[in-house]
Every structure is written in structure tokens, then in C-alpha cells.
């Protein structure tokens, strides 16, 4: 990398032997180097590309192919139905419930986790005793495995679980709920669990972003007599923009594909009634449990297309500026 960088080459050239010999020697040298660079690129990426093609692109192609069949996974698919499976999905009220739940999780995560994480990150970015401990605590839920978190909250929030007992003990018996079974509130309970689980990730990202805010700007602001709030509002937040947008992107894609915690926490009955289904759980319930393999593949393709389009739109309108800024800005 450094040897191919022209800037460094020139800098090296200053201490190198007489300038006159350099052009003659450099040309074949550079050609060989370019060739070697390509060998390296091909040699190092080929295994990864093969794995990527075999385990990502090919299955994706097959998923689309299978989605065009009425197929129960017994014998090879023969009953070609075109896009019927897609039409069926959008006619199924449970799938529409799943779409709605995914939307709730996407927007709920952005609107709740964002402000909470920002507030906590700003607080944790100040110097105080025990700061490291608090940073660690904020990050712990994110490190735990999804299934562990799901089982933990399932136990805490069950009818006779700790959470309801806690409410009783506080004299708030009226608030006791079937948190994971009441069809009207289960999605909000799940949103709460997802927030608890993933807010630590947002905090860590934002803290990393904060550490890139130049100290001199804060000092200059302080000299100008800006309050803490003014400093955050006019210096820190604008400089955090790229970090926030990257986090929004990751959060959105994760929320569209959320599966594990929902699968573990919600009971099958509540899921199949649509109250806690997401596109991913709907896909597994129909693909494997109802043995509708063609239909399940259609749902998988829909999930992929929605995530892909969302990702493209986000990159096109919100991230492009950041990526350009980051690349050109840092290289200078």
C-alpha cells in the first residue's frame, strides 16, 4: 500500500540517489508492481467471492426460482404458478400484520433508541467517577446473545413473573398485564425488549463518534462563552451527523429482518394471530411449519426486496454525502 502511494514515493525520492536515473528504472518496476497487486487482489478475494456466490447469490437465485412454484418441499417443484405466491402474501392479513409490526419496530427503534442513546452518550462523554463502569453497563445487553435475552425477558414478563410481582409489591397491581400474550400490547413489549437490547450499540457508536469531535472546537466555544448545551447543539451534534446516519442505517436494516428475539419470546399462538409476527417469523412459520416451501421463499424474496430498496434509498439520500465527505476529507 505505502509503496504504491505516489505521495510517499516522491517523499522517498528526495533522499534517493540522483534524480536522472529514476524515470528509466521506475516504469518496469511499477508495471510489475501493478501486476503483483492484481495477483494479490485475485488471490486473496477469490475464496471469499466463491463463498459469497455459493452461499449468498446462488441461494438467493434459488429462493426466487422456488418462489414461483406451488411447492411443499416434497419431490422437485413442478407446479409453476408465476407470481401467485406474492399475490397470496399481500392478501394474507397476517402478513400485512407482520409488515405493520416491522414498520413499528423500524420507526420505534429509530425514534426511541436515537434520542435515548444520544442523551446517554453525551452524559457518558463527560468526565466523572465511574465513567468506564457506566459505559460497560450500557453495552452489556448488546453483548448478550439474542436467545438469552429472549428467554430472560420471557421469564421476567410471564404472568407470574418478576415484573408483575414487582408491580404488585409497589401497589400498582392495576398495571399487571399479560405482557407477552395480550394481543394489543405484545408488539410494544417486544419493542421495549428490542430497545433494551440494542440501545447499547447506538451508545457505543455515538461515543466513538464523539471521540472524533476535536477538543479545540469545544475549547474555542468555551472561550466564546458558550454554555454546555450550546456547545452540544452547535458543535457536537453536527459533527456527529455521519455517525448518527450510519447507526440509523444499521438499525433500520436490523429491524426489518428481526427474528431471534421475537421467535424466542412470543408464543406460537400469539405469532400466528399476527400480534407479534414479523416478516421473518412469518416466513419460517409458513415455510417450515405449514410446509409451504414455495410460498415461504416468496416471503423471503419480499423481505429481501424491501430491505434492499430501503438500503438503497437510504444510501442514495442520506449516506452518500457522508461517504464522499469521509473519503475526500480524510485523504486530505
Amino acid at each position: 500500500m505505502t509503496s504504491t502511494n505516489p505521495t510517499l514515493d516522491l517523499a522517498g525520492g528526495a533522499t534517493a540517489p540522483p534524480a536522472g536515473r529514476r524515470p528509466a528504472r521506475r516504469s518496469p518496476h511499477r508495471a510489475a508492481e501493478t501486476r503483483r497487486k492484481w495477483y494479490e487482489i485475485i488471490g486473496l478475494t477469490t475464496p471469499a467471492v466463491i463463498v459469497y456466490v455459493m452461499f449468498v447469490l446462488v441461494p438467493m437465485g434459488f429462493a426466487f426460482y422456488y418462489s414461483l412454484f406451488r411447492w411443499r418441499g416434497v419431490g422437485p417443484p413442478t407446479d409453476f404458478v408465476g407470481f401467485d405466491n406474492y399475490v397470496l402474501a399481500f392478501q394474507d392479513p397476517i402478513f400485512l400484520d407482520a409488515l405493520r409490526n416491522n414498520a413499528i419496530i423500524v420507526f420505534g427503534s429509530l425514534l426511541i433508541q436515537g434520542p435515548v442513546a444520544l442523551g446517554v452518550a453525551l452524559l457518558l462523554n463527560r468526565k466523572f467517577r465511574g465513567r468506564t463502569l457506566f459505559r460497560l453497563l450500557a453495552f452489556v445487553p448488546y453483548v448478550l446473545a439474542e436467545v438469552t435475552v429472549g428467554i430472560m425477558w420471557k421469564l421476567l414478563l410471564s404472568d407470574a413473573g418478576t415484573f408483575n410481582a414487582f408491580l404488585e409489591a409497589l401497589g400498582l397491581g392495576g398495571l399487571v398485564q399479560a405482557w407477552l400474550a395480550d394481543l394489543d400490547i405484545v408488539i410494544w413489549t417486544l419493542l421495549f425488549i428490542l430497545t433494551w437490547k440494542y440501545v447499547g450499540f447506538a451508545i457505543i457508536l455515538l461515543l466513538a463518534g464523539l471521540s472524533n469531535v476535536p477538543q479545540e472546537l469545544n475549547e474555542a466555544a468555551a472561550i466564546d462563552g458558550a454554555s454546555w448545551w450550546q456547545t452540544q447543539r452547535h458543535i457536537t451534534l453536527p459533527l456527529l451527523g455521519p455517525t448518527i446516519r450510519i447507526w440509523m442505517f444499521l438499525s433500520m436494516i436490523g429491524s426489518l429482518q428481526v427474528f431471534d428475539i421475537i421467535w424466542v419470546t412470543s408464543v406460537p399462538a400469539v405469532r400466528s394471530l399476527g400480534a407479534s409476527a414479523t416478516m421473518a417469523t412469518y416466513m419460517v412459520d409458513n415455510g417450515f411449519f405449514a410446509r409451504l416451501w414455495g410460498y415461504g421463499n416468496a416471503v423471503a424474496v419480499i423481505l429481501f426486496v424491501i430491505s434492499f430498496v430501503a438500503a438503497l434509498l437510504f444510501q442514495r439520500f442520506l449516506l452518500r454525502r457522508d461517504i464522499q465527505g469521509a473519503v475526500t476529507g480524510r485523504a486530505k
Binding site: G73, A178, L303
Partner: protein, 436 residues
């Protein structure tokens, strides 16, 4: 994403191999090899069963495999116990599709077996197992398709109501209910002594759906049910009537609070746990329930003292046969290309001695005549009597109709339990799924 990729991979691999198989398939019809060819060459059989948890069931199957190997040293058996859902939903379909199935594997009979036969996955064993089928009787019919035998059951029993005898006594219920009027009366009396009358694990869907199945069994004639299983036609009004009866029954509030979140079994907070630990008085469940109650009971001795069993009560004036019962079993089938020794092993599993040993594990009721002596538990004994006294045993409807219709049916029944479904919607969902 992780799930999507994995499913995609399974599918991709499956298709590739499925195409290969389609290309070079079309082998000859299965026929019994000459007897002197058997056990000559060393063979290895792979065996997938669903007793995945450490316990008497798993230990027993290991012993069976070892005993068979001792009898026939040329046959080595690789045993693998796989959790039911995983086995049935993913492992087995994928293995069959990729033409690399185990030689002998768990088979549920009914709709799924029919699909597997149509795809030419299973070995026709009609000729080899004539004696066994005769000895097992009608239970073996579930493993038939188009009049041919493709598997054999090793466990079969009917469903009924498991109950707490002490609670019945305290509530002043003289005898187990034989009609739904008496059952409703018992529910009222049990409420008066402040216990949950009936526990139901609606969270897992099927335990709730089984109530509807029983109402359908009472509302529909045997002919209607048989026709529904083979043609997947659900036009008879009796299927709507089943939902209406269920709705009326739910309205009497016989179940525990918040049953939509209660799991079925294997967990102290499940419907099973409520009965096993003296919180609920009744539970509708199959013959395997003794084993699952044992695993969740805090006090096994107390459980053994109070537990009893009675058949699902009759509904007076209904066209269904009051002596008909819902039931089901587990069986094994041999893969199409499995060696002939596979069938010999299958026959060994259902031989009276092996079946007697199975009965002694207490995990289910045997199917072979001559194995009854192995049943020691009084509750299981009463199921065995009721099973042999039943005029007609209808296989669990979700198994009989196949996974697709079964799943849609169970979902729609659970909607009635949740208070936002109608009897008509159940039938509509079943018809729609049959077309999918």
C-alpha cells in the same frame, strides 16, 4: 438474515441434489429379496427417531439397536435422536429431498406419509410385514397409502382427559363425566373450590386445536371424516358445528386465565405443569402425557396418587359415534433405497418382546398384541382399555390432513380461543390451505 441464508442454503443444496436424483432416478420396483440374501453382507442402517432428550425412551432405542446388532452381527445401526419439530420440519424433508435420507426414520402417518409416497421416497413393505400388520390391527392403516403399507407404528393411543382425583373428590364430583352436560357441571363444581377446572396450552396451538377436533369427531360421521382425510373436502356443515360447540364451551370459561400464552408441555408453567403440580383439575391430552407430566411434576409421588384418566365425554344427540376417539401414534418407515435389512429391523421393533420393553418405559402405549403386560401405570392401563374399546380411532386431524391444512386449521381454531375468530373462518381457512 441468518435464517434466510440458512434456509436458502438448504434449499439450494436440496434442489441441486433433487435435480440429480430426478436425472438418474426411476429405479425398479421394490421387491422382497430372497431370504438367503439377508444378513449376508455387512450393512449400516441410519436411524432417526424423536426421543432426543435423555430419558427412558432414548435409552431404550439404543438398547434395541444394540440387541438387533447382537442378533444379526452384519447389521450396524447408527442411532440419532432429533427433537420432533426439527426432525419433522427441516431435517427429514431436506434429507429426503436431497436423496440422502436415513434408512429408517420417524413417520407420522396420514397426510405427510401420503405426500412422501407420492414423491416416491418410501419403501413399499406390504409383502414383508403382512403378519405384523395383522397383529397390530387397524392402527397400522395410518401408515398405508393407496392400499399399500409404507411404515409401522410402535406407539398408539387415544386422547382423553387426564384429571386430579383428589380435586374431583373435594369438589363433590362422584364419577368422571360421560357427557358434556356432566363435564360442564364438573367445571362449575371445580370453580367453587377455587381451582382451574381445565388447563389448556393454547400457546402451542395444537393443544387448543384438539378441543375442536373432539367436537368435530362428535359432530361429524365417520364417513365424513374419512372422506375429509382423503379428499380434503370440508363442505359438510358438521365442521362449522364443531366450531360453534367449541365457542359455546369456551364461553363457559373452563380454562385458566390467559391460556393464549400458556405452553403445552415440558415446562412447569405449561398446561401440563398446572395439572402435574395440583393447580388445575383436568387436561385434554394423549397417551404420552404420563411421561411429560412426570418431567414437570415437583412431587412425582403425589402425582402418581392423584392422576386419573377418562375418555372425552359424548355430546348427546350428535351424529358422531360416542365411542369414536381421537388418537395417533408414532411409527417408523424405511427409505425407498434402504437395504432390505431395514424392513427386518422394522419388524423387530414391532415384535411383541421389543414392544413389551417399550411399554415398560412408560413413554407410550404399545401397538402389538402380546405387549400389554408391559403397561403398569393405572392411567395408561385405562387408556389401553379405552383404545381397544373404541369403535373408530380418528388420527389427529392436523396429521390426517397434512401440515398445510393442519397448520391453517390450528391457527384459525386458536383465533376462536383468542376471541377474534368464527366457526366459519376455520372451515374457510382449511379450504384455502387445501388449495395452496
Amino acid at each position: 438474515m441468518a435464517i434466510k441464508r440458512r434456509a436458502g442454503t438448504v434449499l439450494a443444496l436440496s434442489l441441486t441434489t433433487a435435480l440429480l436424483v430426478a436425472g438418474c432416478g426411476g429405479g425398479g420396483e421394490s421387491e422382497a429379496p430372497p431370504a438367503d440374501e439377508l444378513f449376508k453382507n455387512p450393512v449400516t442402517l441410519t436411524w432417526w427417531h424423536n426421543a432426543s432428550q435423555d430419558g427412558p425412551g432414548k435409552t431404550y432405542w439404543e438398547k434395541v439397536a444394540k440387541d438387533f446388532n447382537a442378533l444379526h452381527p452384519t447389521v450396524t445401526i447408527n442411532v440419532e435422536g432429533i427433537e420432533t419439530n426439527q426432525l419433522q420440519r427441516t431435517r427429514l424433508p431436506a434429507a429426503l429431498l436431497s436423496s440422502d435420507p436415513p434408512d429408517i426414520f420417524q413417520s407420522w402417518g396420514g397426510g405427510e406419509l401420503r405426500e412422501q409416497v407420492e414423491a416416491d421416497y418410501l419403501k413399499d413393505i406390504t409383502e414383508q410385514v403382512k403378519d405384523e400388520v395383522a397383529n397390530i390391527g387397524s392402527a397400522a392403516e395410518i401408515w398405508q397409502a393407496n392400499g399399500k403399507q409404507y411404515g409401522l407404528p410402535y406407539r398408539m393411543g387415544i386422547e382423553g382427559i387426564w384429571y386430579n382425583k383428589d380435586m374431583f373428590q373435594r369438589a363433590g364430583i362422584a364419577a368422571p363425566p360421560t357427557t358434556f352436560e356432566e363435564l360442564n357441571d364438573a367445571v362449575t363444581k371445580l370453580k367453587a373450590i377455587n381451582v382451574i377446572p381445565i388447563a389448556v396450552g393454547a400457546g402451542d396451538k395444537w393443544p387448543a386445536a384438539h378441543w375442536w377436533y373432539n367436537f368435530a369427531l362428535r359432530a361429524c360421521s365417520v364417513d365424513t371424516l374419512k372422506k375429509a382425510s382423503t379428499d380434503l373436502s370440508f363442505d359438510d356443515q358438521c365442521f362449522v358445528k364443531a366450531g360453534q360447540d367449541l365457542k359455546a364451551f369456551i364461553d363457559t370459561k373452563p380454562f385458566q386465565n390467559n391460556f393464549i400464552a400458556t405452553p403445552g408441555q415440558n415446562d412447569p408453567t405449561s398446561a401440563n405443569g398446572l395439572l402435574a403440580n395440583g393447580k388445575a383439575a383436568m387436561e385434554l391430552m394423549g397417551d404420552w402425557n404420563k411421561g411429560t407430566l412426570d418431567t414437570v411434576a415437583a412431587d412425582k409421588e403425589a402425582l402418581n396418587k392423584f392422576i386419573g384418566w377418562f375418555p372425552v365425554p359424548a355430546i348427546s344427540g350428535s351424529p358422531g359415534d360416542p365411542k369414536a376417539a381421537l388418537g395417533g401414534g408414532d411409527g417408523f418407515a424405511c427409505a425407498k433405497n434402504a437395504p432390505a435389512e431395514c424392513v427386518e429391523f422394522l419388524k423387530y421393533i414391532v415384535s411383541p418382546e421389543v414392544q413389551k420393553g417399550y411399554a415398560e418405559t412408560g413413554t407410550g402405549l404399545p401397538v402389538t398384541k402380546g405387549a400389554e403386560a408391559g403397561v403398569a401405570d393405572p392411567a395408561l392401563k385405562s387408556i389401553l382399555e379405552a383404545t381397544s374399546g373404541a369403535t373408530y380411532v380418528q388420527l389427529w386431524l392436523d396429521t390426517a390432513f397434512g401440515s398445510t391444512v393442519g397448520n391453517a386449521m390450528n391457527d384459525a381454531i386458536v383465533a376462536i380461543f383468542a376471541g377474534n375468530g368464527t366457526p366459519e373462518q376455520v372451515v374457510e381457512a382449511m379450504k384455502a390451505a387445501a388449495r395452496k
